[in-house]
């Protein structure tokens, strides 16, 4: 059974990619609909399996680590697999309606979409340092391809910048992998962690971790390495922006977090952890401020991603040399933040796409009076905004609550200021958009009304991010399941 679930996750997206490569956009839509169904079922199945039986390691090709590639299938991984299934389905469904099927080059949307999805699954489940590198590249290249698809000069500039940043990040990561392999002779994360436990902090490994984390931070757009993100996320088509902001940046963060949690205690240092936390805080403040200053709707959302990503990096200081309980709180908080930001940001980008489609301009002022005619998309945008502001009862709030607890519990009270200020700053840019939409203009319906299915999708995502706050205990309980060490299938 597990075997089939793994096949479903890792290989069928690749199959959909090849199939959709052969078809045109309309047929690709049918293949994708079927593929989405399969993926959602498989992800749910694996999630349920893990929720019941606990996590396990899976050696691909029958070869266990360190010789073969090992997958780590645990609660956290399947939680993200499920998140990916939800968000990517929504984006795929939205794209199927949103994207113009008559442009010849749009047929390439689906294969890139499926390659992206399979790369994401590979990263969530990956337990091998080098395999993660390949997975990351799969994600980056397909993401760049999606941004550039059919774009003009500005889009190409954005995607080139994105590509170069992503490549630089990957190389830094790969260099770290090379150093670690030179040191330990193993590529398995779990294997290296075990070796580290026996032989703490050997010379030279600090740089390896630093390189890997820096490279991954660049790919995650941590301040001040964030400049590539807003142009790329802002200019891509909305379903693509949603995928990029909700999932793609999380993949590199996920690897960085895994590495930190496995290796940080032995090769990390307090100063490094604080530095990363500080950069994260700067990202929260600076990203929010820039988001507030933007004139284009999607740029606001893109800069908001920079700010929201900042929170994630509080994981580093809040898990370094703190008690087990505080560390767990921080990890749960960050996990929730990843999930709720994923859902909310996807909802926001999709809703923003609908709004732009409807008012015919990407500028914020153009929204005046739209609240009368497009309540659904605006409502979804608003709900998602509530989650970004981390107000209750959304998932963003529960995440912030846990992080507050962790900061106070670890005695690192200075992060409290960041968490609270970040909430207020995000309120500033979110309400700026509400404000624009509440302005009254002469009562003329000059808006294009997009199909209902386009409006329903962001609403579902926004409601999910809302519901996450109420059900976070259930979600987190799967994530924190005890890991079954000897559990090969």
């Amino acid at each position: 059974m597990t075997l089939w679930l793994m096949a479903g996750l890792l290989f069928t997206p690749l199959a959909w990619a090849v199939l959709t490569l052969l078809t045109d956009f309309r047929w690709g839509r049918w293949v994708t609909s079927f593929g989405i169904l399969v993926q959602v079922l498989v992800s749910l199945g694996l999630w349920l399996t893990i929720a019941r039986d606990g996590g396990f390691y899976y050696g691909l090709g029958g070869w266990d680590a360190p010789l073969g590639i090992e997958l780590r299938v645990d609660g956290l991984a399947v939680t993200f697999v499920l998140l990916t299934a939800v968000v990517a389905s929504a984006c795929g469904w939205h794209a199927g309606v949103y994207i113009d099927p008559d442009k010849a080059w749009h047929r390439y949307f689906w294969p890139l979409f499926w390659f992206l999805w399979s790369g994401l699954n590979a990263v969530w489940l990956g337990g091998d340092l080098f395999n993660l590198y390949v997975g990351l590249e799969l994600i980056s290249l397909s993401a760049v391809g999606l941004v550039a698809l059919g774009g003009k000069a500005a889009a190409l500039r954005a995607s080139l910048r994105y590509l170069l940043a992503a490549l630089l990040g990957s190389l830094a990561y790969l260099l770290g992998v090379a150093l670690l392999y030179g040191q330990f002779g193993s590529l398995s994360i779990a294997g290296v962690a075990t070796l580290l436990a026996d032989n703490p902090a050997p010379a030279g490994s600090g740089l390896a971790l630093a390189l890997m984390v820096t490279g991954l931070s660049l790919k995650t757009a941590l301040f001040p390495l964030h400049q590539w993100l807003p142009p790329a996320h802002g200019i891509a088509k909305s379903p693509v922006s949603a995928l990029l902001s909700a999932l793609v940046v999380k993949a590199s963060f996920y690897i960085a977090a895994r590495l930190w949690l496995e290796f940080g205690a032995t090769i990390g240092s307090f100063a490094a952890a604080q530095l990363v936390g500080l950069l994260g805080s700067a990202a929260v403040v600076w990203g929010s401020w820039l988001a507030f200053r933007q004139q284009q709707l999607k740029q606001v959302v893109a800069y908001s991603s920079v700010a929201q990503i900042g929170y994630l990096f509080l994981l580093f200081p809040l898990t370094y040399s703190v008690s087990e309980a505080v560390s767990l709180q921080a990890q749960q908080g960050i996990t929730l933040q990843v999930i709720s930001h994923g859902l909310a940001k996807a909802a926001m980008f999709l809703a923003a796409g609908n709004l732009i489609l409807s008012v015919g301009s990407g500028r914020i002022e153009a929204l005046a009076g739209v609240s009368r005619f497009l309540p659904f998309s605006l409502f979804s945008f608003g709900l998602a905004g509530v989650s970004l502001m981390s107000l209750p009862p959304t998932g963003g709030f529960t995440a912030k609550w846990l992080l507050l607890q962790a900061s106070l519990g670890s005695g690192q009270w200075w992060w409290v200021a960041v968490l609270l200020a970040g909430g207020l700053l995000s309120a500033a840019y979110v309400f700026r958009i509400y404000r624009a939409s509440f302005l009254e203009r002469p009562e003329t319906d000059r808006f294009y009304h997009p199909p209902r299915s386009l409006e329903v999708i962001p609403l579902i995502l926004a409601l999910l991010s809302l519901g996450l706050g109420l059900a976070s205990e259930q979600v987190l309980s799967v994530m924190a399941l005890p890991f079954e060490e000897a559990g090969a299938p």
């Binding site: 107000l391 709030f397 529960t398 607890q405 404000r435 976070s472």
Partner: protein
């Protein structure tokens, strides 16, 4: 028993569902929307009445589940919850009727009534919250659902007021969140409990408890419009009259005051608070706010702004009342939660009636309005005298009980504050009454509309009269069971002898 679990949830859900349904209704669905609105308000009133009866007999209504690691979502009905829930259920019904008439042909009614219902759902949640975490949840929901109401008109001025409102309340919310998180770190997840949690009085915790208390009051004080955190309230007056009525009489300011009551009574406990020495400064702050609000009201020329400053002053009576260490004074403060609600909503309804019917907004336009609109002016007079504290109206009951309580507690200076405040109230209300009844009406009103037989639309007319009558009844019948005063005494009894 299942019912005891589901009643609070149902009470919450009626308005939440109403909100969802209204959002989904088309703008033109006038009748259906009104039916949903009134139906939900009536159902909710029924549920609350059942729960009031149950709480009186000592039934425990409650439901809880773990929301995030370490914190629970708790709904619980105790005597204090029911006081606030009852207030909001009654006034919601009246305000809904009023708002239907008031917004008869203005745009965006779906949006308005949707958020209106959300706002009431949040108020219900605040009333029924069983711990600070749940309280905070609805407290922030209230902020969000009132913003669209404040900016409803969509004018520059409304949007500016909305921004001020948000800056104040969201910052207040952040401070409150910090306080709650800190408290959780110090003492864990504390349910609201009669008598409070810190009776053992551990000296090691003193400093942090005082710090937390200050933050809690600062966070809640924003909504309760305690000086110097009151700046948003007069600005928010640009909202439509029913919104002002709801913001001032029921939802927002009361949520803040109610939160402070919860903190003092059900988290810290009166005794622990007074041992910590936090009640006395709070009492001084409240007293100052009472006088400050009244003084500012003297200089207002806009009727709604005057009422807003009057609210700033009146809400602090509640806070002053609970800071009086003793059951009688506390009852005085608590009963004002209801009395101020009824009186202030009457006054705002009247202000709305004048604005809708005659186009009157400023005080100097009110000359002789009593002859054109006798019923409204009668209601206004009742409300004004209530505020001043003239017997036998509701306001008198409050002031009398509080005064007695202050003497009991040995805080004689409070009497001086009460007297001075009453004089100030008289100083700004009596000139208006004089204008209403004894000046000659102008030849032409600023913007007059006619509605057949009644002096104004029936939707506006009856709610105003009903609240005026309730103001009288609450004073005259104060000693009957289930009157606001008896209910407040029941709460105090349970608090002081848990």
């Amino acid at each position: 028993m299942m019912l005891s679990v589901w009643l609070p949830v149902l009470a919450l859900m009626t308005s939440l569902l109403a909100a969802v349904v209204i959002f989904a209704l088309p703008e033109q669905g006038y009748r259906l929307r009104t039916a949903v609105n009134l139906g939900a308000a009536l159902v909710k009133l029924g549920l609350v009445v059942v729960m009031v009866w149950g709480v009186f007999r000592g039934v425990d209504y409650g439901v809880s589940f773990t929301m995030a690691p370490g914190v629970a979502f708790v709904l619980k009905a105790d005597a204090l919850s029911m006081m606030f829930a009852g207030l909001s259920a009654v006034l919601w019904l009246l305000t809904t009727v009023y708002a239907v008439g008031y917004l008869e042909d203005s745009p965006n009614r779906s949006r308005f009534f949707g958020f209106f219902s959300l706002c009431v759902a949040s108020t219900m949640g605040i009333a029924l919250a069983g711990n600070l975490f749940t309280f905070f949840l609805f407290y922030e929901m209230l902020t969000l659902s009132t913003y669209p109401l404040v900016v409803h008109r969509g004018t520059e001025q409304a949007l500016k007021a909305g921004r001020t409102y948000l800056i104040y309340t969201l910052t207040g919310g952040a401070v409150l969140l910090l306080a709650i998180a800190w408290l959780q770190g110090v003492a864990g997840d504390l349910p609201f409990r009669e008598g409070g949690h810190f009776t053992e009085n551990d000296p090691a915790l003193h400093t942090s408890l005082i710090g937390i208390f200050v933050l809690l009051v600062a966070g809640l004080g924003v909504k309760a419009a305690v000086f110097p955190l009151h700046g948003w309230l007069p600005q928010a007056m640009v909202a439509p009259a029913p919104v002002s009525a709801l913001l001032h009489a029921v939802a927002v300011v009361k949520a803040g005051a109610f939160g402070i009551v919860r903190v003092v009574y059900n988290i810290y406990g009166v005794e622990a608070s007074s041992v910590l020495g936090v009640l006395e400064p709070l009492a001084w702050l409240a007293a100052f706010t009472i006088l400050y609000g009244s003084v500012r009201a003297l200089w207002q020329v806009d009727l709604k702004r005057l009422l807003a400053f009057s609210t700033v002053s009146q809400v602090s009576y509640i806070i002053l009342g609970i800071c009086l260490f003793g059951p009688v004074g506390a009852a005085g403060g608590l009963v004002h939660l209801l009395h101020q609600g009824i009186m202030k909503i009457t006054l705002f309804f009247c202000a709305g009636n004048y604005a809708e019917t005659l186009g009157i907004h400023r005080l100097d336009e009110m000359d002789g309005a009593g002859r054109r609109m006798p019923a409204t002016s009668f209601a206004f007079t009742v409300g004004a005298f209530g505020m001043i504290g003239a017997p036998p109206l509701a306001g008198f009951i409050t002031k009398w009980t509080m005064g007695t309580g202050a003497l009991d507690a040995g805080m004689d200076w409070v009497i001086a504050v009460l007297v001075l405040s009453s004089l100030l109230n008289a100083a700004y209300f009596l000139p208006i009454l004089h204008r209403l009844w004894f000046r000659d009406p102008p030849r032409q009103w600023p913007h007059e509309r006619r509605w057949g037989r009644l002096e104004t639309s029936a939707w506006l007319y009856w709610p105003t009269l009903v609240t005026a009558v309730v103001t009288i009844l609450a004073g005259v019948l104060a000693s009957l069971p289930f009157s606001p005063l008896s209910w407040a005494e029941l709460i105090v009894l349970r608090e002081y002898s848990p």
